[in-house]
Amino acid sequence: MGVDPDRISNWLVAFVVRPFAIAVFFVFLALLWTFPLQHVIAYPFVFLFFGAIMCSAWFGGYTAGSMAVVLSSIVVTFFFVPPFYSMSIAREFRSYVAAFALCAMAIAMVSSSRRHSETAVKVARDQLEIRVQERTAELQRSNHEIAERERQLRLLTEAIPQQIWQADAGGRVQYCNGNLVEYMGINPNELRGDVLFTFLHPEDAAPFFQSWEEARRVNGKFEVQARVRGVNDAYRWFLIRSNPQFAESGEVLCWYGVYIDVEDQRRAQQELLVAQDDLARLSRTLSMAEMAASIAHELNQPLTALVADAHACRRWLNVEPANMERAVASSERIVRESTRASEVVSRIRSLFSKSAYVREATDINHLIEDLARLLRDEALRHEVSIKLRLSRDVPFIMVDPVQIRQVILNLATNGMEAMEKTVGIRELEISSEILRAREVVVTVRDHGVGLAEQTMSKMFNPFFSTKLEGTGMGLAICRSIIEAHDGRIWADASDCGAAFHFSLGVNT
C-alpha cells in the first residue's frame, strides 16, 4: 500500500511539528518570565509552567500538552531544581519534581479535554445555528407561498364574473366578493350577518328563507331563484345557490354560495314563451282564415252558376217570343246547382262534427293535474298561480279525454287572460267534486274581471267574443263538447271573478 508523501507531511505537521512548536513557544515564554519573577516570588515556575502547559494543551491539543509537560519537566529540573543547571535532582526535591510532573500531566489532560469538549460544543452549536437558519428560511418561504396562494385565491374570487358569498355554520354571512358588493352598492362590512338577504324582493324573500332554513336543517345544497335589488333600486333575477363545507368530523364548517344573474336568460325565456304563444295564436287564426276561404270557395262556385242560370232563365223568358226550351233548360240547371250547394253545406257540417266517437274510463283528477303541469309556463307568463282542489272521491267516468282536456284548457286559458289586469290575488283554482254520487263537477274559478250580464247570456254562442282577437269559438266548442257528453256547462260571476262549471254524468 503506497503512502502519499503529502499525507505524511500533513500528518507530521499536524501531529508533530505544530504541537511541538506550540509547546516550545509556551515553555520558552514561561522560562523567560520565570527568571525575573524568581526574585520576587518563590517558585514562580510552578504556576508559570502550569500556565504554559495549560495554554499548549488548549491551543495545541493533547499532543502539544504532553510535549509541554516533558519540556517543562526538563527545563524545571535543569534550571530551578537544585543542583541548578544539571539534570540531576537532589533527593529531597525528587518528590517535589514528581508531584510537579504529575500535576502538569493532569493539567494538560484537563485542559486538552476541556478544549476538546468546548470545540465539540461549539461545532454542535454551529450546526444548530445552521439548522435554525435553514428552518427559518424554509418557514419564510412557505409563509410566502401561502400568502401568494391566498392572494391568488382572493383575486380569483374577485375576478370570477359571479357573485360569491360565504356564511358561517350558523348561516351568518361573513364574506361577499367584489361583484356582489358592487351590484348592491354598499360596503362589504355592512353585508355581514343577515344584511345580504335583506336585498331580496319581498315576494321572493319568504320562499328563499324557507329553502335556506331547510338546507341548514338537513345540511344539504339549496338552489332558489329570486329577485335581488341592485344599486339603482332595480331588481334582477338571480339564481342563488349554496353548498355546505363539511369538517372531517362531519359537521358543517361554513356555507359557500353564489348569486348567478339569470335576468337575461329569464327574459329570453319569457320572450320565447310570448313568441310561441303568438305563433300558436297566429297559426290558429290562419287555419281559421284558410278554412273560411276554402268554405267560401266551395259555396261560391255553385252560387255563381246559380245566379248566372237564373239570369239566363229570365232573359229567355223576357225575349219576344219567349224561348221556353232554353228557359226550362236553365231552370233545370238552377235545381241541379241548388242541390249541389246544399251538398256542400252538409259536407262542411260533417267536417266539423266529431269524426270518431271515443269514450274511455278517465280519471278527471289525473287529467287536471296533468294539465296544470302543462300550464305552468303559461301561468308564469301571466303571473298567475294555479291552485288545485280535487276531491279524492271522484270516480272514473266514461268520456273522451282529449275533448274534456280541451274544455278545461280553454276555460283555464280564459281565466288566466281574465286576470290580466287583476291587482290582488292572481290565482286560478281548478276543482273537482262529486255531486249526489251521480255527477262529477269540474270548476275553473278566476279572480278576473268577472262577467257582465249581457255577456252571460250570449257567451256560449258561436262568434261571440269579448276579446279583441278572439274568434268567439272557444266557449261554443266547450259547450258542444260537454253537450255531446250529455253534460251541462254553466257559469256564475261574483265581484271577484268568474267561475265556469261543467258536470258530467257518472254513468255516461
Binding site: 267560401a296 248566372a308 239566363a312 232554353r326
Partner: protein, 210 residues
C-alpha cells in the same frame, strides 16, 4: 283611307276559360241569351292549344284554374303581343290577385257570383276595345305592306320628308340633285297612297309607334 278593309265586328266571341263545368254552362247560356257567341275551355292550356290568330272577341277568365292560373295565362298573352281584352272572374277577397291582374291590363273584374248586367256590360266594353285594337292593327299592317313596296332609296327619302325638312336639304344630305329628290318624293306619295304630306307623316307616326 276609305279603302281600308273594316275589321270583322260581327264575328266576336266570348272565350270562357273556367274549370267548373256548371259555371261554364251557365255563362255560355247567359251570353247566348244576349245574342253573343261563346266558346269554352276547361283550362288555360286548352285555350292556348286552340288559339288561332283570327280569333276575335275577349277572354272571360277564372283566376283560379287547375294548372296554369288565369294570371299566368294573361302574362303569356301579353308577352306574345296578343292584346286580347280580358274579363277576370275572382272569388271574394282575392285582392292581391286582382291588383296583379289589373296591372297586367285586365278590362274588368267580376266577383263571383255576379249579375247578368255586370257580365254583359263588361263584354260590350271588351268587344269594343277589341274592335278598336283590331282596326288599328289592320291599318298598321296595310301601311307596313305599302312601305314594303318602297325601294331602299325611296324609304330614305320618305324618312327625311316626314321629319319636315325641305327638298333642298334632302338633296344635300343624300348627295342627290333636287330634281331626283322630287322624283322620288312623287313615287313615295303614290306608292303609300298618301293624299298630302300630313297624311304621309300620320302613316309614318303610326308604324313608328310601339
Amino acid at each position: 283611307m276609305n279603302s281600308e278593309p273594316a275589321p270583322d265586328t260581327q264575328n266576336q266571341t266570348a272565350f270562357i276559360v273556367e274549370d267548373d263545368p256548371s259555371i261554364c254552362e251557365a255563362l255560355c247560356d247567359l251570353i247566348d241569351s244576349a245574342g253573343m257567341s261563346t266558346q269554352h275551355y276547361s283550362s288555360a292550356e286548352a285555350f292556348l292549344d286552340a288559339w288561332t290568330p283570327d280569333m276575335a272577341g275577349c277572354l272571360v277568365l277564372d283566376v283560379r284554374l287547375p294548372g296554369m292560373s288565369g294570371i299566368e295565362l294573361q302574362g303569356i298573352l301579353t308577352e306574345a303581343g296578343l292584346s286580347f281584352p280580358i274579363i277576370m272572374m275572382t272569388a271574394h277577397g282575392d285582392v292581391p290577385m286582382v291588383r296583379k291582374a289589373m296591372k297586367a291590363g285586365a278590362v274588368e273584374f267580376l266577383t263571383k257570383p255576379f249579375q247578368d248586367d255586370e257580365l254583359l256590360q263588361a263584354l260590350e266594353q271588351a268587344f269594343s276595345r277589341d274592335r278598336a285594337l283590331r282596326t288599328a292593327k289592320t291599318l298598321e299592317n296595310s301601311i307596313l305592306g305599302r312601305v314594303g313596296t318602297l325601294t331602299p332609296r325611296e324609304r330614305q327619302v320618305m324618312e327625311l320628308v316626314t321629319t319636315g325638312i325641305t327638298n333642298k336639304e334632302i338633296a344635300d344630305s343624300l348627295d342627290l340633285s333636287l330634281v331626283t329628290v322630287k322624283l322620288y318624293r312623287g313615287q313615295v306619295m303614290g306608292k303609300m297612297q298618301a293624299n298630302s304630306l300630313a297624311d304621309l307623316v300620320k302613316m309614318s307616326e303610326r308604324i313608328k309607334a310601339p
